[in-house]
């Protein structure tokens, strides 16, 4: 089971999907694309947060995706 965590003001939203279940993948991909359109940055990582990289396309085989709002200099 894969998961995506999307940060937000009310805490992160967790979305899980099974790569073998088309409908679940579709929902996760839709969320990913929606947040990317809002300039969120996405990190594909292992469950423990290691071995990550920035991704621009949804990967249904990712163990975990963490999406953060666009960053700006403070």
């Amino acid at each position: 089971m894969s998961e995506m965590r999307v940060m937000g003001s009310e805490g992160d939203v967790k979305i899980t999907w099974d790569a073998g279940v088309e409908e679940e993948v579709k929902i996760a991909r839709k969320t990913f694309d929606k947040m990317k359109a809002k300039s969120y940055i996405a990190f594909k990582v292992k469950k423990d947060g290691s071995q990550g990289k920035v991704i621009d396309e949804f990967d249904p085989d990712a163990e975990k995706i963490i999406m953060a709002p666009q960053m700006s200099g403070g």
Binding site: D12, D48, I66, P69, M71, G74
Partner: protein
């Protein structure tokens, strides 16, 4: 006739709340549903029920510690009290808008706690046990970028990232963050950026070099 206070948005409450057995001069805490937040006691009142009698009540701050309140009551049937209200504006402090505000405030506090806990869980999921221990004991932890450069991240979100040299000395402070998320989410985003997109992070961040 008492003069009704105006201009604060007070209005006649539209619901009846059972407040239990309260007494004039009581210093008990406010009944459930009418409590105020940690902002302190305020003037407010309610449309309640005391010993099976409908009642208006109001509370006032009675000490400077904001922990005690006194209650005054006028009991009667709802109809009687409605009439009293209509004729004399007996109570000036109408609870509904204020109570709503506090309920909203309290709900927001609860939501904020949940949001922070969720953010903390997410942060801890990307840290190793040593980093978690360091954060809990000292308020900061060190993360290494893919280039091998160490950065110290502190709790908070303003200039909370420090670039370290080989001896652990701070050589620069960096500030880049996602806005509108709890501090722990800010830290999570910073960890991931430093680990996997260091150059992008440095390109975004305001960087202040530390004078040695």
């Amino acid at each position: 006739m008492a003069t009704p206070r105006r201009g604060r948005g007070y209005s006649k409450p539209d619901r009846v709340t059972t407040v239990g057995d309260m007494h004039v001069g009581s210093t008990a805490n406010c009944p459930a549903g009418w409590t105020v937040s940690s902002a302190g006691w305020k003037f407010y009142g309610g449309y309640g029920r005391i010993n099976d009698r409908a009642a208006w009540y109001r509370s006032e701050v009675v000490d400077s510690s904001d922990t005690l309140a006194t209650y005054t009551f006028t009991t009667g049937t709802i109809e009687e009290l409605d009439n009293l209200w209509a004729r004399e504006h007996v109570f000036d402090f109408r609870p509904q808008p204020l109570t709503d505000a506090f309920e909203i405030f309290q709900a927001e506090v609860e939501e904020s706690k949940k949001a922070r806990q969720a953010a903390k869980d997410l942060l801890y999921s990307v840290l190793d046990p040593m980093q978690i221990h360091s954060l809990e004991q000292t308020g900061f932890f060190v993360v290494f970028s893919q280039s091998g450069k160490p950065y110290q991240i502190q709790g908070g979100h303003v200039l909370n990232v420090a670039e370290l040299d080989g001896q652990g000395r701070v050589v620069a402070r960096l500030c880049a963050l996602p806005e509108g998320v709890p501090d722990e989410d800010v830290m999570t985003a910073q960890v991931l950026m430093l680990r996997y997109a260091e150059e992008m992070f440095r390109g975004i961040a305001n960087i202040r070099t530390e004078v040695q």
